[in-house]
């Protein structure tokens, strides 16, 4: 029993410290920050409406699944299509310069801009 007690002290305390250190030093994948960055976006559309998605990485890139998955979670209960062929598109870029380049390139209107690189854009047809 004494061995168990001593062992527990030597097991748990370093384990807790190791966990704390590894948690803090682990490369942050930024999921929480990404969710919070998108969280203030609102869509004045009925639940189940489909919106498009545009980002800096292509669907062939492994990073796309993570970005798209996070965005899909945040915009629920809207259906997020993985392409930007829609009148309303969630633009999820890394910087404002990328976002603005996308807006100008496709002749879109920026409706919401809650954070750096993030916005809700509409096509000219939707604007009319």
């Amino acid at each position: 029993m004494a061995a168990l007690l001593i062992r527990s002290v030597f097991l748990i305390v370093p384990a807790a410290m190791r966990s704390h250190v590894s948690t803090r030093s682990r490369p942050n994948d930024g999921t929480s920050e990404r969710i919070e960055r998108l969280a203030s976006i609102t869509f004045e559309r009925p639940p189940g409406a489909t919106i498009g998605y545009a980002t800096v990485v292509t669907p062939a890139d492994a990073e796309f699944s993570r970005r798209y998955g996070i965005a899909r979670y945040v915009v629920a209960p809207q259906i997020l299509d993985s392409t930007d062929r829609h009148s309303v598109v969630l633009a999820d870029f890394d910087s404002d310069s990328q976002l603005m380049a996308y807006v100008h390139q496709h002749n879109l209107v920026l409706r919401q801009h809650p954070g750096a690189g993030v916005g809700v854009v509409e096509s000219g047809a939707a604007q009319r």
Binding site: S8, H20, P47, G48, P77
Partner: protein
């Protein structure tokens, strides 16, 4: 806001308690299995209310009013209370007279020094685990991948989706969110989100933590009830011999709730097949196994394994007829959740990603591929070397070996056979999976080990502890 959520939690507890305390016998020492019954009631209650929430969603999709839902939720609880009381034999309606506490079979007396050592050990382990858990939970507030990509995504659709709530299960764009997965976790989170009026990440975090605490309490409760505090504390603290148990709790995955249901099922089965076992325990075991198959697809395999194990063990110990009677008791509890789960799968167009997207010949090719067997066995060996804390594991084994073997091994055999059959099933799934085997092994191998670890501790303990719970004198065996 929070008051509604607290009432919702209380409703689940009361519903589960009505069923569990009604079906299981009163024990001679009144509080002997109280912790086990309370934890089991919690699991059963949440499972029932997750189904009732989905019924509400199907029937009244356009009514988002929280008060109306709270009334519905409370009506389910009231109905269970009335049913439990109405079916209660007259002898059990009065508060039972205090009987002399029975001497617990195999109870081991402990000295004051050992008691204090044990208490210190308990506090240190719990405190350490809590530190790690809160640290991880704070780091990953929204959980890991499956939490936001599958479980909480569905919960969010259920609670905010209005009339379109079911599109998360039927729309082809959600195919990689696994629409065929059972819904206990998302429906429970959605229910509490609806009652609390938020979609805060605290709710799924709290749900995961509650499942971990319940698992811990089940091991503590069953060890203490059957053998005394030493066994209880050794069993409970041994959960952390696999430290990943704590990390998985913080991820908001369904593995810890599933692990909790596995353990509760096996405790009920062990007590049910033990000497003087009451078949009510088997029915409650069936209910909890039902909660397991309503939590994750692995639960279907586990429930079938538990059923088969009871038939095998009872046939070997008594007769095949008595084995069938025991199996019937489990089925009575299992069937409601089985019907709900299978009904949901039939209604959802997307099939299971492992079983429905490949032909029998492809599966057979995988089975005969020696390299797949080698890869699976190698990964199992890797997990055995890296997952558990080896010194903690050796101390657990030393405790089990030094405690001696009990005469009746039926409960240990029932739990052991269930775990063996479930493991064989897991092995078979790895063998036939159409996904990349290395990816499948690395993403789910350790989680399956964590799911089963608390049940393995129970099986080890049952070699040293007699799972006999003496019913009160007026409690007749069915």
């Amino acid at each position: 806001m929070m008051a509604f959520a607290l009432i919702g939690i209380a409703n689940a507890v009361v519903t589960g308690a009505c069923l569990v305390f009604r079906i299981t016998p009163q024990t001679a020492a009144r509080h002997q299995m109280l912790v086990v019954k309370a934890c089991t009631a919690l699991i059963v209650g949440f499972a029932i209310h997750s189904v009732s929430y989905l019924c509400w969603r199907v029937a009244f999709a356009d009514i988002g009013e929280r008060i109306a839902f709270l009334l519905w939720d409370s009506c389910v609880t009231a109905l269970m209370c009335v049913l439990a009381y109405a079916t209660l034999p007259r002898s059990r309606r009065a508060w039972p007279a205090r009987e002399r506490p029975a001497t617990l079979v195999g109870s081991r007396s402990v000295s004051r020094v050992v008691s204090w050592s044990l208490f210190s050990l308990f506090v240190i382990v719990v405190e350490g685990a809590a530190v790690i858990l809160f640290d991880q939970a704070a780091y990953e507030r929204f959980g890991a991948w499956d939490a936001w990509a599958i479980w909480n995504l569905k919960a969010k659709w259920f609670v905010l989706g209005g009339n379109a709530w079911s599109r998360v299960l039927t729309d082809p764009s959600f195919v990689n969110a696994h629409p065929d997965y059972p819904l206990l976790l998302p429906a429970s989170v959605a229910r509490l989100w609806m009652l609390s009026g938020t979609t805060s990440a605290i709710v799924p975090q709290a749900f995961g933590c509650a499942a971990a605490v319940t698992t811990f309490a089940l091991l503590l409760g069953v060890g203490w009830a059957l053998c005394g505090p030493v066994t209880g504390i050794v069993a409970a603290t041994s959960v952390f011999t696999i430290p990943q148990f704590v990390w998985l709790t913080a991820t908001q995955y369904a593995d810890i709730p599933l692990s909790c249901s596995y353990l509760a099922t096996l405790i009920c089965v062990a007590v049910g097949v033990g000497h003087n076992g009451h078949r009510g325990w088997l029915t409650v075991g069936g209910l909890v196994a039902g909660a397991a198959l309503w939590t994750k697809n692995e639960g279907i395999l586990f429930a079938g394994s538990a059923l088969l194990a009871v038939v095998i063990v009872q046939s070997a110990r008594a007769t095949f007829a008595s084995a069938l009677i025991s199996a019937r008791s489990i089925l009575v509890g299992l069937l409601p959740f089985f019907i709900v789960s299978i009904g949901m799968k039939l209604l959802i167009p997307t099939g299971n990603d492992i079983l429905s997207h490949q032909s029998f010949s492809t599966m057979w090719t995988h089975v005969t591929d020696t390299s797949r067997h080698v890869a699976i066995l190698s990964h199992m060996w890797f997990l055995a070397r890296t997952l558990p804390d080896l010194i903690g594991l050796l101390l657990l084994l030393a405790y089990v070996v030094s405690s001696g073997r009990v005469s009746s091994l039926a409960p240990a055999a029932a739990t052991g056979v269930t775990l063996a059959l479930t493991s064989i099933g897991y092995y078979a799934i790895f063998l036939i999976t159409p996904n990349d085997l290395t990816w499948q092994l690395t993403t789910s191998g350790s989680r399956l080990a964590v799911q089963m670890w608390p049940s393995v501790i129970l099986a080890l303990m049952l070699w040293t502890v007699d799972a006999t719970v003496r019913p009160t004198s007026h409690e007749s065996r069915p």
